[in-house]
Subunit: 160 residues, 2 copies
């Protein structure tokens, strides 16, 4: 699934936006050797192509009474395509689950969960996760401390 062709300027724009998503076109024009109007047009193209998915706000969970981050490995009972879709839909409806990936190995899925405190985690795993009909087993681990958390991708600009 390759998108449109990006040149070095597109990559420079993306790098700059990853650093500061609120930079104005004029500010970006100071870093990228293009005019502000060209930068605006390129950003629009990047948005339309889906490369730029959206603009998000980063909140500090600990200041909002969300002090527990946990991980869970989940194994399913069955592995048919319908089961997988059903599980995916159920996970999408759980706001406490911020990330979920299908993985190879011991478990089938891996989740990152954010909740208020340990009792909330317990309630969430017991009442919401394990009660999903397809779930066979859940193994959860509490995060002790966040070391790093970024949304910045390691972009590989073209050599040219």
């Amino acid at each position: 699934m390759r998108g449109i062709e990006l040149d070095r300027y597109d990559y420079q724009i993306l790098e700059a936006l990853q650093r500061d998503a609120r930079a104005t076109h004029q500010k970006l024009a100071q870093e990228v050797p293009l005019s502000a109007s060209q930068i605006g047009r390129r950003i629009q193209r990047l948005e339309e192509s889906g490369i730029i998915q959206g603009y998000h706000i980063a909140l500090r969970p600990d200041l909002l009474d969300l002090s527990v981050t946990a991980f869970a490995s989940v194994s399913l009972e069955r592995h048919g395509e319908a089961s997988i879709r059903e599980f995916a839909a159920a996970i999408s409806d759980l706001p406490e689950v911020l990330e979920c990936y299908a993985v190879a190995g011991e478990a089938d899925y891996w989740l990152r969960i954010v909740v208020q405190d340990l009792p909330s985690l317990s309630r969430f795993v017991m009442n919401k996760l394990m009660t999903l009909s397809l779930v066979r087993s859940v193994k959860s681990t509490v995060a002790l401390e966040p070391i790093k958390h970024t949304t910045r991708l390691p972009l590989q600009p073209p050599a040219r």
Copy 2:
């Protein structure tokens, strides 16, 4: 570490900004029963208090030649405070590592890694991760498919 007191309007603003970080103050004023200028002032306060950490752009990794997401559990040789700080600093310098948490249990740290392809993953783990002096062992797993990925926190608005 509790921050400033937030009322229901602050929560409504945060909810709305989590949905659309580029919403203008006027647009927000249509959802939250406050004037645009008040909303602007509250957002400023939320930024100053650190609750709003920043504004980010969400890029689609698969369209940018970053098709592999992997997870790694890392165990360290020693666990003194200096070792931990050294490891944290080293991880922060690795752009391929997007998330890292200290965890309780079998491993010491858990990482999420994004790279171009499987050979890149192999190179990264072998040459960059395992060569960190403090690392004793690394166990990595490749993500087969992303099911969910959001930055939206499950906010708990006050009852009042």
